[in-house]
């Protein structure tokens, strides 16, 4: 681990720690309104000011970071498991199964990621409770984000299927199911870990895009997407630079992930 990666680790730990401790660090809940101080600039009481509904921006940033940083790995886990199941199994079985899995993967990959997301999001009800919207958004990311990883896993499992040790195990009479779980899956682990870590920043950015477009987490629940939506009404950066804090935090976190991922990407490739 080089110096930059160590720094990235520290940054991620600090941000995650602060977001988990939001209940103690934030001056109020994310939905509490200070009606006498709407759209207020930073002050002692409100470090990052308040939004147009009078909610403390610092509290919303902390809680929003918690939602995005905890649920993006959950979505990444779901997508990695799906990729392992579909891609790994199809690659191991080979033949028509592999071709079918790859045809479905190609179909998904032929659509731009954001377009696929908004289309699938539109198929679900939009007027749902904030908590359901959080679950729907991240479930959607997990359920649709498996394709690239599945392709990599299918190829890796396919090459494992033809490897000497698997052939030998098959010749020794090991049943197919045991062969898959005992000999193939453990060898897929490095690729699975890599795909898991690669998916996290992708899902964080996707949630932010969906949130800004009004198809992500709904009010009053904060997430990076809904916090960044505030930039829509901005007239000048100089007048209200504190509104850029969520964006700066997002860029710092995603950059930290990218720095940590340089090694993982080599494994995934």
């Amino acid at each position: 681990m080089n110096l930059w990666q160590k720094l990235a680790c520290v940054v991620l730990t600090l941000v995650l720690g602060a977001s988990i401790a939001a209940n103690w660090l934030a001056p109020a809940g994310y939905a509490k309104q200070y009606r006498e101080a709407t759209d207020a600039p930073p002050s002692r009481a409100h470090w990052l000011g308040t939004d147009e509904l009078g909610r403390d921006r610092f509290a919303r940033v902390l809680y929003g970071t918690r939602i995005s940083l905890l649920l993006a790995p959950a979505a990444a886990l779901l997508s990695t498991l799906m990729a392992a199941l579909i891609g790994g199994l199809a690659g191991y079985l080979g033949g028509v199964w592999a071709r079918m899995a790859m045809a479905v993967t190609d179909l998904f990959l032929s659509l731009p990621w954001l377009f696929l997301l908004i289309t699938a999001r539109a198929l679900m009800p939009l007027n749902v409770s904030p908590l359901v919207s959080v679950l729907v958004t991240f479930m959607l990311l997990g359920l649709l984000g498996w394709t690239t990883a599945a392709r990599v896993l299918c190829t890796t499992a396919g090459s494992l299927r033809g490897s000497d040790f698997v052939r030998q195990a098959r010749a020794a009479g090991l049943p197919g199911q045991r062969l898959f779980w005992v000999h193939v899956v453990p060898n897929l682990k490095p690729v699975l870990y890599a795909q898991f870590w690669i998916s996290i920043p992708v899902f964080i950015l996707s949630e932010a895009n969906l949130g800004i477009l009004g198809l992500g987490v709904t009010e009053p629940m904060p997430s990076w997407g809904s916090l960044l939506k505030e930039l829509e009404g901005l007239v000048s950066i100089r007048e209200e630079p504190w509104k850029f804090v969520p964006l700066i935090l997002l860029v710092v976190v995603v950059t930290s992930f990218q720095l940590l991922l340089s090694k993982q990407e080599e494994v995934a490739a």
Binding site: L107, S110, P112, F115, L123, P201, I212, L213, G214, T255
Partner: protein, 290 residues
């Protein structure tokens, strides 16, 4: 090696199959989506039972997914793509009116993104200055960490054209691929030999490296069309540009599923055509190189 006509035929068949399958999947999802088969007109107190029944009968053929899709395809073959539920206009008219703007945005955006990518990647490869390489990597890496929708919002704030926003969304991705391809190409034995023989950097780059990476770059160019189409959604939606990206966003917000199916088929067709085109051109380039 496959002949060119058989390669083109293969691509055309795969394209047709994918578009048909994509359309069918979209139609199936649309049919299964919550809220499908409801019509607010049925709540109109002025309508009597027979009128309500007539409305239900009009939708009854949509109940069978195969029948629904077959009738949709049949109508589509005759140029009838149905009517948008939210906008109340024929989908064909909406797509036809908005396509030129999106195509112009995509063309200019992609041209700018590739101009920037090739300028920076080739100059970094030519100069071989680690500070320059680090600087370009930081710029592209930072842009990669900013959500596309934020770049679209910033373009509104700074009065920057939408096409430039698309370019800035696509550029970091194409730059990363191009840089990696160039780095790998420079590690090839014939390049090391060429340098050992004292060939100039410019000659090595343009005579030995660029021809090696051209087929892969063409493949990336095909993929970049898909990236640009994806980028057009936030850019058009947030910059108020009335293109197909904005239409897709409006259809998603209004749950205008019939319109979304048409846009899905269109987007699938465009991205697959771009990828197949890039693959065929790459094949021609490779075969000419021998």
């Amino acid at each position: 090696m496959q002949s060119l006509p058989s390669k083109i035929t293969g691509h055309a068949l795969a394209l047709l199959a994918t578009v048909l399958l994509g359309g069918f999947l979209s139609a199936t999802l649309m049919r299964l989506a919550p809220g499908f088969d409801t019509d607010e007109r049925e709540l109109d107190p002025h309508l009597n039972a027979q009128s309500v029944q007539a409305l239900r009968n009009a939708r009854s053929q949509d109940h069978n997914i195969f029948r629904f899709y077959f009738s949709y395809m049949k109508r589509a073959a005759n140029g009838d793509l149905g009517t948008s539920l939210a906008l109340g206009q024929p989908a064909r008219t909406l797509l036809r009116d908005r396509a030129p703007l999106t195509l112009r945005l995509l063309a200019i955006g992609l041209a700018l993104a590739w101009a920037l990518t090739l300028t920076l990647a080739l100059s970094a490869a030519w100069l071989r200055l680690s500070i320059y390489d680090t600087l370009t990597t930081i710029v592209s890496g930072t842009l990669l960490c900013i959500p596309a929708a934020v770049l679209a919002l910033l373009s509104v704030l700074w009065n920057v054209p939408g096409s430039l926003a698309i370019a800035l969304i696509v550029f970091p991705r194409t730059y990363r691929y191009t840089r990696n391809l160039l780095v790998k190409a420079y590690l090839r034995p014939h390049i090391i030999t060429a340098r050992a023989k004292g060939l100039g950097e410019a000659r090595i780059l343009f005579w030995h490296v660029v021809p090696v990476v051209t087929p892969q770059l063409l493949a990336v160019a095909g993929v970049s069309v898909s990236m640009a189409v994806g980028a057009a959604i936030p850019v058009e939606a947030l910059c108020g540009l009335a293109g197909i990206g904005q239409l897709a966003w409006q259809a998603a917000l209004a749950r205008d599923l019939p319109l979304l199916v048409n846009i899905t088929v269109l987007v699938t067709l465009v991205t697959l055509l771009a990828n197949s085109g890039a693959d065929v051109i790459g094949y021609v380039v490779r075969s000419q190189e021998g």
